[in-house]
Symmetry: C2
Subunit: 196 residues, 2 copies
Amino acid sequence: MSDTHSLDTLVQALRRLPGVGQRSAQRMAFHLLQHDRPGAQALAQALDAAVQQVRHCRLCHTFTEAEVCATCLDPRRDASKLAVVETPADQAALERTAAFRGRYFVLMGRLSPLDGVGPQDIGLHELLARASDGLVQEVILATNFTAEGEATAHVIGQALKARGLTVTRLARGVPAGSELEYVDLGTIAHALVDRR
Amino acid sequence: MSDTHSLDTLVQALRRLPGVGQRSAQRMAFHLLQHDRPGAQALAQALDAAVQQVRHCRLCHTFTEAEVCATCLDPRRDASKLAVVETPADQAALERTAAFRGRYFVLMGRLSPLDGVGPQDIGLHELLARASDGLVQEVILATNFTAEGEATAHVIGQALKARGLTVTRLARGVPAGSELEYVDLGTIAHALVDRR
Ligand SMILES: [Zn+2]
Ligand SMILES: [Zn+2]
């Protein structure tokens, strides 16, 4: 047992955070112990509280402390439209637009066969049940426009269409405020195909 | 109280880590709660243990769980040489070279008047006492070769020399393995001035 055992253990624990390597973890541990011990204690308490209290909404799978999240409980939301997003952060991005007032299903991930993430891990079965509740008229696939996000949208879309549901996808196109000269070719090509 | 209060609190607590903004903090919280709850609990425990157990070595100021750290206690180390470094990470870098077998004083920071970090915050008084113990023959300034590190070395060096102590500084020069063509001009100029 070295005389810095608890410090070494802290550095290893910080390395489990995504995007944090050995050097970042050391810098974080140094900062907390040298300059912000109250911050270290606040973080420890926040981690414990979140692990104990955060669970998944029974209806949309996002993080919540209740059985059903506030969005799903909101009676003003349009039950005929269901947006499918990858993460709570993506849902928050959609909410910030104030352009969508329907309901959500949050996959809490994306299909990634190479990482062993299959349909059961993104709740495909529960999504199909949710979309077949008789109220949903349109499912809007709002997964990311990455290779994995597109593949996820494709698989989910096929499964929903096989049940006779109407499925749409967010439009690909030129970002608002862009000058065409500076937009990449693939984006312009997609904007042409999806032209209104 | 929202239904994601503990999640929001966790994101805010993660933002107190250096280099972690809102988006990184959200990604970390998502990762821990969705994929690594044992990691979150391990981190909480490691934080609590480190805050409780890690203190500063009475002699060299580095982090330790004992009153005096293992390096300071090691009788095989040369008490006539004292290297002054900014952080435990810098000390570890020097140790990896196996080229220094003396003792250390760890400033646990650097002078930074704009951030309110003055001589008392880097233990200048304690360093002067340590270097005047009658055993130390040479103090090697091994602060970083940044503007703040150089300024820190200058201030410490002046104070040590005023007490009649021999003070040296790590050589500036061309990194081992470098081709001159790709080395910046300032480094080459310093290597010329400090030529052997
Ligand atoms: Zn919900
Ligand atoms: Zn020590």
